[in-house]
Symmetry: none
Subunit: 192 residues, 4 copies
Amino acid sequence: MDDKKKKITLSAMKVFQNKGLEKATVSDIVKGAGIAQGTFYLYFPSKLSVMPAIAEVLVERTIKTCEKSMDWTMPFENQLEHFLEIVFQFTKEYRDIYALIYAGMGSSKQLDVWEAIYEPYYELIGNMLAKAKQRGDVRDQLIPKRSAALLIGLFESAAEQSFLYDNADEKAIQLKKNEALDFALHALGCFS
Amino acid sequence: MDDKKKKITLSAMKVFQNKGLEKATVSDIVKGAGIAQGTFYLYFPSKLSVMPAIAEVLVERTIKTCEKSMDWTMPFENQLEHFLEIVFQFTKEYRDIYALIYAGMGSSKQLDVWEAIYEPYYELIGNMLAKAKQRGDVRDQLIPKRSAALLIGLFESAAEQSFLYDNADEKAIQLKKNEALDFALHALGCFS
Amino acid sequence: MDDKKKKITLSAMKVFQNKGLEKATVSDIVKGAGIAQGTFYLYFPSKLSVMPAIAEVLVERTIKTCEKSMDWTMPFENQLEHFLEIVFQFTKEYRDIYALIYAGMGSSKQLDVWEAIYEPYYELIGNMLAKAKQRGDVRDQLIPKRSAALLIGLFESAAEQSFLYDNADEKAIQLKKNEALDFALHALGCFS
Amino acid sequence: MDDKKKKITLSAMKVFQNKGLEKATVSDIVKGAGIAQGTFYLYFPSKLSVMPAIAEVLVERTIKTCEKSMDWTMPFENQLEHFLEIVFQFTKEYRDIYALIYAGMGSSKQLDVWEAIYEPYYELIGNMLAKAKQRGDVRDQLIPKRSAALLIGLFESAAEQSFLYDNADEKAIQLKKNEALDFALHALGCFS
DNA sequence: AATGAATGAGTATTCATTCAT
DNA sequence: TATGAATGAATACTCATTCAT
């Protein structure tokens, strides 16, 4: 990605996170990026149009974290637990901005844009499930890539609920994690 | 709910749906509600504060639909499938506004408000699972109410992904439904 | 005219005169009118849309000046000369703003608006010519109202040229006046 | 004129005509001229400074049209009518841009610039009147060059009024032409 | 309770102009 | 000469909110 575009994206991420969608100003963003006001519009047509670029960064980071920290030789159950941890960690850190991205999706009717962004994420988790399937750790009929999407959705929902309702309560969060993991293990047929 | 408050809420729902969070104006809302500009502020302290009332309406409608159309004597699998249909239907119709509510949650730090709103929804689905547990249709260790939250999250994610990525393709949507149902049935231990 | 609308119009006139079309700001205008920024837009949809209201004021003033200072019993030649003086005087005072109105006409494609504004002016001068015709001071075939428009156009052109090219030279201006008057007297058939 | 300068001028003419003074951008102009943004400023110090060059082009074209199509041996009345036609035609085609030039004159206080530009136009029509005078077709006391300015002003006013008020009505336009011609013929003493 | 005219703070966006190449 | 990326000042307009009636 173009250097300036990247700078803008990262600055926008911080600003949106701190101030929310409406309070965030382009002025804040360019100040953070160290560029002039007008330069912003050479790279993005509007304030909201930075959203997909931010989503891309988040997906990249999630994938990178998974790839770096995941030990593919671990028992599948441990892999799943580790992935759950990552999802909770990212949700905690970026939940505000996820909401904005989510809200921004509606406006931009270019759905294929979003699909392209999340594709590598589904691919990665799909691969994890495929390997587990080869090893017989999950049920036979499972379609790895498609289940990956459901799994990610499940974990993200759980994390979101966790931070939304049980906010600072560490115990409740741990409980939620256990339940989500149990729910997923059954769903994937790890106990059959 | 007060008649005027209800009018405002319903009008706001339409306006937010059509115009999005930022383009929607209080002026639009009051026009739709047939009241004066100032009257809005007798019922809501700010534009965004209508959001919880809208969420409440959506939850009410979902619950009412479930209660009306659900046959609690059906086999559990059919109940689950029926519930899935309802989630997909509501997501399709209200997905734009769900996103706004979701994004609005972040701003309003009164998390207990949101919890209170969704509570009856979790209660309803929790009851469904509880009955299924009594009949031995789901696994023994399952905690009905807590699994309800995960189940709802799963189905909503699936529906959201469906309408986000596979937009108008009826076939893909059906496939997604089947997978989500299968995923849930395993998760709930219906096959063990 | 509404009191606030009038205040805005008069303030805008001054501001446009002093700063020109582009340098004039709505902020200047409302400051001069002693109202809030937003109030401007309750009365005019845009900065340029004040132009017709300004034109109306100018026409009103011209007419009022004619009516007050014109002695309808004077010999026609003297009446014409007096009218010429008035045109030169108004052109000198308002020439900058006339140019803006003129330029603004193009944008506003509601030509009937302009016609309605200038109508009473043509009416007034038309009446002057009609009376002169009755008295046999101008040629018989003359159509008063239609000639009025040509006469006004001629005098305004003359004045405009005068102040545009011969700017501060009082002698040249006097010469121009004489020629314009002579030209008009011949055109109206006062010498035949 | 330098080739690039000419290109810029012609492009600016089109852009100003289509978009008006404020909406027209240097970016539009250079795009139309097929040159780079910065190149504009090698030939003109500012956006508005193109205006005199445009006026020059218009005067040139008017003169060229007169010289090409005018038969100086025709009876004077016919010459005058032909000239009137040309004025109406040019006004119709360029009236939007005339207004801008007119408005632009005020800003640029270099009045001598404008005088120099229009000088050859007055010269041309002045010559026409001088010849007519020699032939006894107009009154004796007439000062050709000075009357030329009044004549041009009269015809331009008539045309402007015509297109401003009677816009598309061909009949009304014809009527206006007849009246303007009659007015001018009397003014010039062709009937005495 | 209801009104709606008035407010005025707030900002995305534009674009004339510059300047390093 | 020519370029066009970068600049950043400048402003029309919006709209949530208030308050006198």
